[in-house]
């Protein structure tokens, strides 16, 4: 038998039926549901008189629309001021009740961002196929699971058939060799990767992230890397299973127990690419070369290290890039600015499915501890990824550190990552954000997003502009 990549193994173990034209029927083990991309899928089921194939394979929680202020959250769904958002969240509750799907609703402490909740509960397990109507489903690939975002029609398809019609992707390996420098995190690694291969660099590929620079990351860090695989164009991001993976999963509420645990662990040990497995593309990045990253433009690939000058459109050879850069310069209001430090920030957002887990909050707290947020900032908010992350952070006293420094401590949800709730940027405002997309208008109409790590966002909150976190913590 020929050597297989991790992706090949996951694909083969979920293959229900291969079709002649290269497409295949793939079995889905876990579907995560949220309020934005599921209502039309449930409606489709109802109209066709269909039932979910296997309800226990689904797990739901509202996240995109939920308010994050204490006052709005006190009374659950009824507290949502925006009537349109309220309908969407209520619709999820109703659909889950009607079809018998487990849901962590707004009053449940386990509620949170789907991509934080799944792993936290042990619902996401190594070797699974995981889908969700959200492109950042690639997050779950950190567990050696085949996970990717799907559209609403496919959400309905999975509900009704437990399968998806898929075409196999090609294999790409991104290897990060060496050791990361102090204060350089998983976010900097993935931004540097996107900077190197571009936002379409991974299109058509499943990317496996490997090398010592990846293996040394915690599960939280690995989730951050896989989360942004989609920002490199790859629907799937993967990391091989090792002891770090297994230790994280052990004892979680939905993880297997007893004899089944032992059986599962034995199977999970094989969730690595074979030694001589073939990848169609291999990209190698030196960990030591990665410095704290900041995006300057309107695409995640428009990213530079903190000490680099902002690149100019005129210096670009490729005409498409030149035009894109010119448009981004204009949108981001960069005229007359040469470095990232020249950008005065208006807001700071620490949160999102990329960076709202406990480790992210610990790092941010470490940076702001004993310091004060710059007086020039309009707002700095910290939004934990789930009710349980929030509880853990409060147990450790992180919320006090944030509040004493002048950051707001919020309730869990997607929040300012995509501004579907009340948390958003005003036109022209610059935001240091730990989220995943800096597209035009993403965080609010006319808003200007700069993607950074939690440590860099925290440092920016203190300084009021971008600084190397290494410099800030020296003083």
């Amino acid at each position: 038998m020929s050597a297989k990549t991790l992706y090949d193994k996951l694909w083969d173990s979920h293959l229900v039926q291969q079709r002649d034209d290269g497409s295949a029927l793939i079995y889905i083990d876990l579907q995560l549901l949220h309020e934005v991309t599921s209502p039309q899928a449930f409606e489709g089921l109802r109209l066709a008189g269909r039932k979910p194939w296997r309800v226990s394979s689904s797990l739901a929680t509202p996240d995109h629309n939920v308010p994050t202020t204490k006052t709005e959250r006190m009374s659950g769904v009824d507290g949502i001021e925006d009537p349109v958002s309220k309908i969407q969240v209520t619709t999820l509750d109703d659909n889950c009740n009607e079809f018998g799907i487990t849901e962590f609703n707004m009053k449940d402490i386990r509620q949170g961002i789907v991509h934080v909740v799944g792993p936290e509960q042990g619902a996401t397990l190594p070797g699974m196929t995981v889908v969700c109507g959200d492109s950042h489903t690639s997050t779950h690939g950190a567990f050696g699971a085949l996970a990717h975002g799907i559209g609403t029609s496919e959400v309905e398809h999975v509900l009704a058939t437990q399968c998806l019609v898929q075409k196999k992707s090609r294999n790409m390996l991104v290897r990060v060799d060496g050791e990361l420098s102090p204060w350089v995190s998983a976010k900097d690694v993935v931004l540097a990767i996107i900077g190197a291969i571009g936002t379409a660099g991974g299109t058509g590929f499943a990317i496996e992230f490997g090398g010592t620079g990846i293996q040394s990351l915690s599960m939280e860090g690995r989730m951050t890397v896989c989360n942004m695989a989609i920002e490199a164009g790859a629907r799937v991001g993967l990391i091989a299973v090792d002891d770090t993976t297994i230790d994280y999963v052990k004892g979680r509420p939905y993880a297997p127990k007893g004899e089944q645990w032992d059986m599962a662990v034995a199977a999970w040990k094989d969730l690595v690419s074979d030694k001589d497995a073939k990848f169609e593309e291999v990209v190698v990045i030196k960990a030591e070369d990665i410095k704290p990253q900041v995006t300057w433009g309107t695409s995640p690939e428009m990213v530079i290290a903190i000490d680099e000058a902002i690149p100019h459109a005129e210096d670009q050879k490729d005409p498409v890039k030149k035009e894109g850069y010119a448009r981004a310069w204009k949108y981001m209001g960069l005229e007359g600015k040469t470095t990232l430090a020249d950008i005065t920030l208006d807001r700071v957002f620490i949160g999102s499915c990329t960076n709202s887990r406990i480790e992210d909050l610990r790092i941010a707290a470490q940076v702001v501890k004993g310091r004060k947020v710059a007086s020039t900032l309009k707002q700095a908010i910290v939004v934990p990824g789930s009710g349980l992350v929030k509880a853990q952070a409060e147990k450790e006293g992180l919320h006090t550190i944030f509040e004493e420094a002048g950051l707001e401590w919020r309730e869990p949800g997607c929040s300012m990552c995509l501004a579907m709730n009340a948390d958003k940027l005003g036109a022209g405002e610059h935001c240091a954000s730990t989220s995943n997309r800096n597209f035009e208008g993403r965080q609010g109409f006319g808003g200007r997003t700069h993607l950074v790590s939690p440590a860099m966002a925290a440092a920016a909150a203190i300084a009021g502009n971008f600084v190397d976190v290494n410099e800030l913590v020296k003083h």
């Binding site: 229900v16 194939w53 349109v84 559209g151 437990q162 399968c163 597209f439 208008g441 109409f445």
Partner: protein, 216 residues
């Protein structure tokens, strides 16, 4: 699903690379629980000067005159000419829903983002990948003459330019079959229910922990 066989229509050129799903349909419009009605907010931030709101009437809103879909000559366009990596970003199916609701039947570009490309087929919208030079030629020809139409023939997998030049494109057989016949994907998959059950039975032996019931 509405079948797609052959379509001849006015082409609108959107000369911008990396058009993301937030541009196609901004997030405030994703709060709808319906599949329809997104057309008036397609490309909302590129199309209008102000920030659009869900349920807002769009007729009186200030428009960006230079945006392609606001130009008189492109009114009624049903084929969208686009640049590389069209549809990157989110998995929101609201993007193809908005394009479809506006009246587009086909999008032609040198490349598409994976999830968006996939979502189009589920909605009777045909995304076509052509060589960058061929896309360039279509852009030039469409600019040259007002009212220029492009013919998209799915059966024969060809695109015919306004001047009559013909380009071939590739499409998976299964997707083509579904689109030509307007077939419901789910119904087709359910015909394979025996195979799905066989898979499940085998898997329950191999990996029983994947089938645990979830306590509330």
């Amino acid at each position: 699903m509405r079948p797609f066989t052959k379509h001849s229509g006015l082409a609108a050129p959107l000369d911008l690379a990396n058009v993301d799903t937030d541009m196609i349909i901004p997030k405030q419009f994703l709060k709808s629980i319906k599949r329809t009605g997104f057309g008036k907010n397609l490309f909302d931030e590129l199309r209008y000067e102000d920030e659009g709101q869900p349920d807002q009437e769009c007729d009186g809103r200030p428009i960006r005159e230079d945006f392609v879909l606001n130009q008189a000559r492109y009114q009624g366009a049903s084929v969208l000419l686009a640049r590389q990596n069209f549809g990157c970003g989110s998995s929101r199916e609201h993007a193809p829903w908005a394009l479809d609701d506006y009246g587009f039947r086909s999008i032609i570009a040198p490349s598409f983002a994976d999830i968006f490309y996939n979502n189009c087929f589920k909605n009777g919208l045909l995304p076509i990948v052509l060589h960058p030079d061929e896309v360039d030629q279509l852009f030039s020809e469409v600019a040259l003459r007002e009212g220029a139409e492009i013919v998209v023939d799915l059966e024969n997998q060809t695109v015919t330019s306004p001047s009559g030049a013909q380009f071939e494109f590739v499409v998976d057989n299964f997707r083509k079959h579904c689109l030509l016949n307007g077939l419901d994907d789910i119904g087709l998959t359910l015909q394979q229910d025996a195979a799905i059950r066989r898979y499940e039975e085998r898997r329950m032996q191999e990996a029983p922990w994947l089938f645990l019931s979830r306590e509330q």
